[in-house]
Each structure stands twice: as structure tokens, then as C-alpha cells.
């Protein structure tokens, strides 16, 4: 099962690193995620261009 790195900080800086197990994405979920990232980049481009 894939893991996500989680760095825990307090006022003084990094305290510890944990690894959280996450469900593996299905192909459909991966496609949806990539589509969302593309859409976000498109929105960012439009915002930069002032559109």
C-alpha cells in the first residue's frame, strides 16, 4: 500500500516524520486527478493573463 510522508512541525521546526498508508488510486481516480491538475493549470494561466 502506498504511503504519504507527513512532516510534523512545531514553533521550533521539524519535530518528526510519519508515514501514512493511503489507498492506491484506481486508473479512473488517477485520470480525474490529472484532469483536475490540468484544469488548475489552465485557470492559473488565465489568471496570470488577466482573463
Amino acid at each position: 500500500m502506498p504511503q504519504v510522508r507527513n512532516e510534523i512541525y512545531d514553533d521550533n521546526g521539524l519535530v518528526r516524520v510519519e508515514y501514512i498508508e493511503v489507498e492506491e488510486l484506481t486508473t479512473e481516480e488517477l485520470i480525474a486527478q490529472k484532469e483536475a491538475e490540468l484544469l488548475a493549470m489552465y485557470e492559473e494561466l488565465k489568471a496570470l493573463k488577466g482573463e
Binding site: N6, E7, Y9, A40
Partner: protein, 200 residues
């Protein structure tokens, strides 16, 4: 002749006391939260959390207006694409007349040269119906999960076609994130760093 009429006592409907007020106090954190639940300044959930780069040497802020009072245990961001030597800080400010004012929390430097969750321990008392400003002060840039501009409410209109959803000021990252946000800010429309708040 003037009549001064004062009515005191308790109103009841079918024997049940009633009071005024009620309704929404804020637009975020609408559903009751349990310990460990997480919320953010998003207004709708589609395509939430898409990655995008923050701007280096810029302090950005956007409003968070909770509909319920709660205390946080931490704030989180997610780095999706690392930046070599990248750092950022996240912060929460009070509001003064529609601008960020005094810091309630400023994180230590968060290392964005590795991907994954960055969790800043933060005990903040959020009060229902109060405007807070979630802020990110970017150093060398990296990509982090974002809230899309279309998922946020407008603050003010820049022109007839564009509504700003956040404000920012240029601020070198080597300068400490200010305890007082200050004026001279620029309103803008754009995707914002997704800062997730965890209830204690």
C-alpha cells in the same frame, strides 16, 4: 403624547421558548465537526486539491469564515511537486475592516523540498461568524495543493468581469512573516494554497 412601551419576559410557541437570531453565521465549516475532522476555505468540493505552484517572496491571504466555533490542533498543506531548497510559512490573521490584521499563528519554516503533507501544530480558537485570513508566505517556489479560484467566494470586484478572491503583498521570504499584516495589499483573482484546518 409619547408612549414608552417596554415588553419583558419570554416568548413561547406551544409552550416552547423561542429566541431571535439563528441561521448561518459563516460560510465555511458548515457541518458539525468531530475531533480530527478537517475543513478549509472551500465552498464546493469538485476538483479540490489540485496542485499548483505558489509565488516566491509573496505573502498571500484569503478569508475563512467558520459557521461554528472550534479549536484547531494543526494546519496542513500538501507539497505535490518539490522545489529544491523550497520553504514556506503558513499563518492565520484576524480581520480589521476587510484586511488581514494581527497574526494568531505563524508556522516555523515548512520544508517544501520534499513532497507530502506538512503539518504545523497550531491551537487556534476559531469563533463562528468571525472572519479570519489564511495566509502563505512563499520562499523558493514549489507546487502544493490548491483551492481553485472557482471554489472560493469573491471579496471585491476588480472590474466588471473579475472578482478578487484573495490579496497579497510582495515580501522577501528572508523577512519574517509579519505579526501585523499591514496595508498596501493587492487584490487579485487566482488559485490559492489549500490550507487544511484540523479540529482538536
Amino acid at each position: 403624547m409619547a408612549i414608552d412601551l417596554n415588553i419583558t419576559g419570554q416568548y413561547k410557541v406551544n409552550g416552547v421558548p423561542i429566541s431571535g437570531g439563528g441561521g448561518l453565521q459563516g460560510v465555511h465549516a458548515l457541518v458539525p465537526l468531530a475531533s480530527g475532522d478537517q475543513v478549509a476555505a472551500t465552498l464546493q468540493s469538485s476538483t479540490s486539491g489540485s496542485g499548483g505552484s505558489y509565488t516566491a517572496n509573496r505573502l498571500v491571504a484569503y478569508p475563512f469564515i467558520p459557521n461554528q466555533s472550534f479549536t484547531s490542533s494543526n494546519l496542513q498543506i500538501t507539497v505535490t511537486v518539490l522545489g529544491a531548497g523550497a520553504l514556506c510559512r503558513i499563518a492565520v490573521y484576524t480581520d480589521l475592516n476587510g484586511n488581514p490584521d494581527t497574526s494568531l499563528f505563524i508556522s516555523s519554516n515548512l520544508d517544501c523540498s520534499t513532497t507530502g503533507l506538512k503539518t504545523a501544530t497550531a491551537s487556534i480558537n476559531f469563533v463562528a461568524g468571525t472572519t479570519y485570513w489564511m495566509a502563505l508566505h512563499g520562499g523558493t517556489t514549489a507546487s502544493i495543493n490548491q483551492i481553485l479560484v472557482g471554489q472560493m467566494f469573491p471579496i471585491k470586484y476588480l472590474n466588471i468581469n473579475t472578482a478578487a478572491n484573495h490579496l497579497f503583498k510582495s515580501l522577501n521570504f528572508s523577512t519574517p512573516t509579519p505579526t501585523t499584516f499591514g496595508g498596501g495589499n493587492t487584490l487579485q483573482a487566482g488559485n490559492m494554497p489549500l490550507i487544511v484546518i484540523t479540529k482538536a
